[in-house]
Each structure stands twice: as C-alpha cells, then as structure tokens.
Symmetry: C2
Subunit: 96 residues, 2 copies
C-alpha cells in the first residue's frame, strides 16, 4: 500500500490519439498487475474513444470488470493565442 | 402522468451531427416544458458531443440541473454490406 501511495496516478490511463486497442492493452496490463481499479480519462473528441476502450475491455477481455463510476466535467484550456476554451472531460473508473 | 406514459421517449434527446447548441436548446426546451428529467443519448463519435451538451446545459444555462445518471454500453449495428460492427453508446440523464 505504501508503494501505491507514492504513485497515485499509476492506475490512470489517459486516452489520446492512438488506436483504441493500445489503451485497451494498457488497461488490461494494469489489472494484470493486480490493480483493483483503473481509471480511463479523456478530453474533447477522445471521449468517444474512452467509452470504446471501457466497453472493449469489459465485453471482450475482462468479463469480471464492472463500471464503478463515470464522471463528466469541463476544463478550461488556453490556446496558443491565449484565448480560453472549455473542453469536456470524462473519467470512467473500472473495478475488479 | 397518463399523458407522459403515452410518450415515453418525449424527454430523450438523440445527439446527431448538428452543432451542440441545437441539442442544448432542445434540452432546455424540455426542462422549460416542466420535464423533471431529460436523457441525452448518443452513439459512436457523437458521444463527445453528448458530454458537451450536458456540460453546456448545466454550467452555462441551468445551474439547478444535476447529472442523475451516466451509462455506457455497446450496440451492434449492421453496415450496408451486412457486416456487423459494435458501436459504443452513452446515456446521460439530467435531473431538475
């Protein structure tokens, strides 16, 4: 538990622009490493892919995984020209 | 209540390819029509827009609205050539 506390973000997978299966593999690896929970996070257009990843993990690979929590939110991001835009976020927590 | 029962899908907004604000307006209209709950549904890449719509409604327009429930799922769709593909879905229920 002490080691876990030093790496609180260890079981968080951030969804970017890679193919979904890259993130599916990352989630499966976390659970194989005896994590009880893995959280998938995404912003903006990657949100759809985050849902794909959660669904593929639990339907195709790890049938004992449940969706513990889903949260949505808004982050303010600053563009290169300093204007600020709001971007939606999602956080999907999978639990063994 | 009897009238409501005849139109069970009345307070469901399906997210398509229109700009987010079109759906934001649709959600606000439902709440103005005294609905206590409105559910936003989307599939595939429209999922990101569904999250945008929910966030814009509750942050910019209706601050008394809360997110009652978020569900994700998978639907099987048949393409024109009869092959079947899985598509992710989201359902976000907003409550007054």
């Amino acid at each position: 538990m002490a080691v876990e506390a030093k790496r609180p973000e260890d079981n968080v997978i951030y969804i970017g622009k890679k193919p979904s299966m890259a993130y599916v593999l990352a989630v499966i690896t976390q659970f194989s490493d005896n994590k009880k929970e893995v959280t998938i996070k995404a912003r903006g257009r990657a949100i759809s892919r985050a849902v794909d990843v959660a669904e593929i993990v639990r339907r195709r690979f790890l049938n004992d995984i449940t969706i513990k929590n889903i949260e949505i939110g808004t982050e303010e991001r600053e563009l290169e020209d300093k204007t600020k835009v709001n971007v939606s976020t999602i956080s999907i927590t999978l639990s063994k």
